[in-house]
């Protein structure tokens, strides 16, 4: 006969508390109602229960240790051993009353295609969605484009990239994922967009930020400067008295479709040359003597 200490995974010198703890752990794991229909679990649960009967209390354990174990394992009344799950397999009154008051039976009818809704068999499972990644140029993402992508199955897809799309957005192609089984529909192909960076340009929602250097003289006097956009250079009027970080807007040169396009935001950066022309430097020295100012004082 199997050793109850071994079945419960405890040593001969284990305390009653340890035995109880170990039994509860096994009982929870192998309880027939939590493992419906699993014969192996049921066997293990019964073995653990019997082992616990033998050494679960001080009295029973003393008796067992003296060698007076009862040898009636498995011989008890069948009804008394019936798990709740077994009772439901034989009757099912509780199982079938579930959901009666909340209309839950629809779920079960749909689950296996029962209740007269024939035609779909249990082998009809819809196909899974498949996600593909696609890199898109910065300009294409901002202004829109048409691209071709070849799927691993050799199929070529024509993908229309909507203007203003951002990294992480997914385009869905219905029915181009994994095939379904039986009469079920196939899954979808999802194309996940990754926008490649473009030096000098930064997307902020629908707007595009561009940093443009200007001289300190332009910052003081203002003037027209050429700034890059996704569609070539444009002339931008800089007002007088701007600083590093000043923002100017070039309307309608951002990302998005023509009717809903963002702006280009030009961020100015005043650049002082490392090697100043000697003439300019002496002119500045003269200015400093006459017209200096302290920006740290209000």
């Amino acid at each position: 006969m199997a050793d109850p200490y071994e079945i419960l995974g405890v040593s001969k010198s284990a305390s009653q508390e340890e035995i109880k703890k170990s039994y509860r752990k096994l009982a929870k794991k192998y309880h027939p109602d939590l493992n419906p229909g699993n014969k192996e679990a049921e066997k293990k649960f019964k073995a653990a229960s019997h082992a616990f009967d033998q050494i679960g209390t001080k009295e029973a354990r003393a008796k067992f240790d003296r060698g007076e174990a009862e040898l009636n394992f498995g011989g008890s009344d069948q009804n008394a051993d019936e798990s709740f799950y077994q009772s439901q397999r034989n009757g099912g009154r509780y199982a079938y009353s579930y959901g009666e008051d909340i209309g839950g039976s629809d779920f079960f009818e749909n689950l296996f295609g029962m209740g007269g809704k024939r035609g779909k068999s249990r082998t009809d499972y819809p196909g899974e969605d498949i996600t593909y990644k696609m890199e898109v140029e910065f300009r294409e993402a901002a202004l829109g484009a048409e691209k071709h992508i070849t799927l691993p199955n050799g199929k070529t897809l024509q993908v229309k990239i909507p203007a203003g799309i951002e990294t992480g957005k997914k385009l869905r192609f219905k029915g181009l994922g994994s095939p379904g089984t039986g009469s079920a529909a196939p899954g979808n192909a999802l194309i996940e967009i990754e926008v490649k960076p473009l030096a000098g340009f930064k997307r902020v929602g629908k707007d595009i930020e561009v940093e443009v250097p200007i001289s300190f003289i332009e910052a003081i006097t203002g003037g027209d400067i050429k700034v890059p956009t996704l569609e070539g250079e444009v002339l931008l009027t800089v007002p007088e008295g701007v600083s590093t970080g000043s923002k100017l807007r070039v309307k309608g040169k951002g990302a998005g479709p023509s009717h809903d396009r963002g702006n280009e935001i030009v961020i100015l950066k005043v650049v002082i040359p490392k090697n100043l022309d000697p003439g300019l430097k002496s002119a500045i020295e003269n200015l400093k003597a006459q017209h200096n100012y302290n920006p740290r004082m209000q």
Partner: protein, 90 residues
Amino acid sequence: MTIIHLDEACDLCGVNKEVIIHFVEEEWVRPINQEAWELDEEDIARIRLIRELTEEFGVNDEGLSIILQLLDQLNRIHLEAMKHEQQDDQ
């Protein structure tokens, strides 16, 4: 099906009447004939299960209601699946 009276059910499950009455009041157990306090094997198995869950595993009343509901659901799925397999075999 065997009809089991309340006294007998108490003996079979090793509990006193109040315990079974409490289970019925909580609607965890729904006797086959509640007016006459008659139970069947399913009710007995359910009472035993409830005792195991509460006394051995430390499940409280709130948790118990949820567990029983999920078990009923799970068993229903099992029964439906078996029924469906039998239909397919025919």
